[in-house]
Amino acid sequence: MRSTNAGKKKGASDDAWSGHDKMKILMLGWELPPHNSGGLGVACYHMSKALAIQGASIDFVVPYTATHPDTDFMTVHGATHLEPLARYGLMGAYDSKHLRQLGLDEVDMKDLHDMRGVQKRYVKFVEQLVKKQAPDAIHAHDWLTMEAGMRAKELTNAPLIVHVHATEFDRSGTDAGNPLVHEIEYQGLMMADRIIAVSNVTKNIIIKKYNIPADKIEVIYNAIDVASLDGYDYDRRTYKYLESLKEEGYTVVSAVTRFTIQKGLTHFIRAAARASEKHDRLVFLFAGDGEQRNELISLAADLGIADKVFFTGFVRGKQWRDAYNVADIFVMSSVSEPFGLTALEAAHYNSALIITKQSGVGEVLHNIFRYDFWDIDVLADQIVGIATSPSLAHELRANVKHEYARISWHDVARDCMALYAKAGSGVAA
């Protein structure tokens, strides 16, 4: 049991933990802003910040060394001296196809060109860290850090919480995926004392594909930090041509995403063609890039809607934010999306949302349209419905705002704290 030390940090914090030693959380992540390639880093950042406010003392490990502004609420540890961009070795962030099938004992820790080498170094670093001070709970994010999490649990007997933002099934968009990653995920999920899934979509995958008992898994939805989106002025010149089409009565339907199988964009393009049969004032903005880009461009041409579909290529910064702003309708067409934070961003920038039933974010929003990713007629119907009814578009936009604003990182942190306490008491007993 942790020692209590009443009155020790008087006035330091007014939360549930005051009067106790702060709960020490070892947070195992792979990225933090501004060195993030996706939503994982953003989620980890806001979650940690909210946890710190609620009285947690956080050691956050990343696999590279860099400066992280605005992180003085926790201690960030760099496990290697790599630059942030080199943390996946020589392969891409989400691309596990080329991952070498090696157990960590077969890996040369000095070979930091290789992902497995980086992961081995990460595990060694965590071993050293927990030897200095044992945490009260270990919170590991996704397969990348699960081996380190299991090792830390082994050394300290602290409860291991595995937080699943995406499984290999989601990343690969198929049942295949990388066998080694599957194996690591399976072990991590088995060894974990508690599992956090970011949605029921993800929870069900963990149950069905990895045979983990449902009662070991808790769904804690991601939130959005609305403040971080404010203070931005839309620049109408970024997508000037689309803006002029809007003035002529066109509706802009957008996807802002990576062009991978997981995102279901070929179905979306087919639905775009189907919708265009019924309503000719539709244009489609595909903002992003990825392996499916050429396939999507030629599919749009095959279907005769090439002039209605705009491909931006990779967007960041202003082009990225303005892509949300110019859109009237945001479609999340994913075949499998654990959560889908971008939908909340789109809602913030005034889009009506259409989200597949296979996307987790749809579980927390009600003022949206949902469809099965393969059901192009339903998607087309919904697009045409919004495009031809100002009141429907207005109600969807206005009402979803009440919803996403209600989802807060403080609730996420509160749920995590409760879970740490539960997992901890289970182990101590």
Partner: protein, 409 residues
């Protein structure tokens, strides 16, 4: 000295729900009301289900009570959309209603045939639907109606004036505290600005004890017994003449299931109430004929029997609902000129207030999603299918009758 009486008034209604009617069906097929997938939009399935759970057992109980207690009486309003579906799929249910009316102690209350909000959009269309309903009731039951209730009990002073001018002797409304103030709903009233029409006001506390709270285990009065309810009724009526119990007919068996004990409860309560020789039941007409007005009631703004707000926001609370009905009623002249009876019928079936009720978003925005009772996944889906059907109505007008346009506003 006349007796103290309960006015039991039950509302019988089923809408014709719009199926998942997509934009690709528009201009292709016109079967908006035909979903045969066993879903909650499958009108035939729903009618069969509610007939088994509610109409058959409750009519059997009402027949029994009428046979057992000479003083038992009940008033019913039965919508045209219900009657049409019962004619097709449950003619025995309709026969049992006929037997009830034939006792002479069951009054039929007048309303719009399509359970519509036409009063607020087109007085001419509203009157046509009232006439259609009176014709249908005459044809089916051989009786005339003399008391009126509007859809969802939506009532205001101008409706009362209309009803008086139209020849009704009574009209029903919600007995809402902010309107009544210190006064009790247990009297006959006169709407402000009228000469002779009577106003009966729902005793919402005693009505809602049955309609909404009866099976609620979190309610401190659960389980409600006939004894307790009799005590409440006696305390409420004291030396006033009436208790107006107005509710959906489907309260019995559908909203409150058989296993909640609602049928036994009700049978016991009727026996208990009538065991006191000072007590009786009145039909709506009898209540009006027997008792004089206790004073004037002023309702300048529309009051309904729905929700905590008692207003029309569940039907006309957002822009989708307004848009749907605006477009629908904008077609009135062209539709009627077309002389195409099938088209006119479909247009009127789309006027049933349930369609816009399913588009209500207030529970979604309040975060109380579980309060959303609808055969659709969301109010947006409801709107989508409705508008696709409405566009098809426009298409039929254009195609066959060269009226109107495919797009409006």
């Amino acid at each position: 000295m006349s007796k103290r009486g309960i006015v039991l008034y039950l509302h019988v209604h089923q809408p014709l729900r719009v199926r998942k009617y997509s934009v690709f069906d528009t201009a292709e097929r016109h079967d908006y009301f035909q979903e045969h997938d066993g879903s909650d939009r499958d009108n035939q399935k729903i009618l069969h289900k509610v007939a088994d759970k509610s109409y058959r057992p409750m009519n059997a109980l009402l027949e029994k009570l009428l046979a057992t207690h000479p003083e038992f009486k009940v008033s019913l309003s039965i919508t045209g959309t219900f009657i049409e579906q019962a004619e097709k799929w449950a003619p025995d249910v309709l026969d049992s209603f006929k037997r009830l009316v034939a006792t002479g102690r069951v009054e039929i209350v007048s309303e719009t045939y399509y359970h519509s909000l036409a009063f607020f959009y087109s007085l001419e269309e509203f009157e046509r639907q009232v006439e259609m309903h009176r014709d249908k009731i005459r044809e089916l039951f051989g009786v005339e109606t003399s008391v009126f209730r509007n859809t969802e009990l939506a009532y205001n002073n101008s409706l009362a004036k209309w009803a008086e001018g139209y020849g009704f002797k009574g009209i029903l409304a919600e007995g809402w505290d902010p309107i009544l103030g210190w006064r009790s709903p247990n009297y006959v009233y006169r709407p402000v600005g009228t000469e002779k029409i009577a106003l009966l006001l729902k005793n919402y506390r005693l009505s809602d004890d049955l309609a909404f709270r009866f099976s609620n285990k979190a309610w401190e009065q659960w389980p409600l017994t006939a004894d307790t309810y009799s005590e409440w009724a006696n305390a409420s009526i004291a030396d006033s003449p009436l208790i107006n119990l107005f509710m959906d007919y489907e309260t019995f068996g559908e909203h409150q299931w058989h296993d909640t004990g609602i049928f036994d409860f009700f049978e016991n309560f009727v026996g208990k109430w009538l065991s006191n020789p000072d007590n009786t039941f009145y039909t709506t007409s009898e209540a009006i004929d027997t008792h004089d007005s206790a004073g004037e009631v002023d309702m300048p703004h529309t009051v309904t029997w729905a929700d905590a707000e008692r207003d029309l926001t569940a039907w006309l609370g957002n822009s989708m609902q307004h848009e749907a009905l605006r477009h629908l009623y904008a077609l009135e002249e062209d539709i009627l000129h077309s002389g195409d009876q099938a088209l006119v019928d479909d247009w009127r079936k789309l006027q049933t207030s349930d369609h816009v009720y399913y588009m209500c978003t207030k529970w979604f925005t309040d975060g109380d999603v579980h309060a959303y009772f609808s055969p659709y996944n969301s109010p947006y889906d409801a709107f989508l299918y409705f508008m696709n059907a409405l566009r098809d109505v426009r298409y039929r007008l254009m195609e066959s009758h060269r009226y109107g346009g495919l797009l409006d506003g």
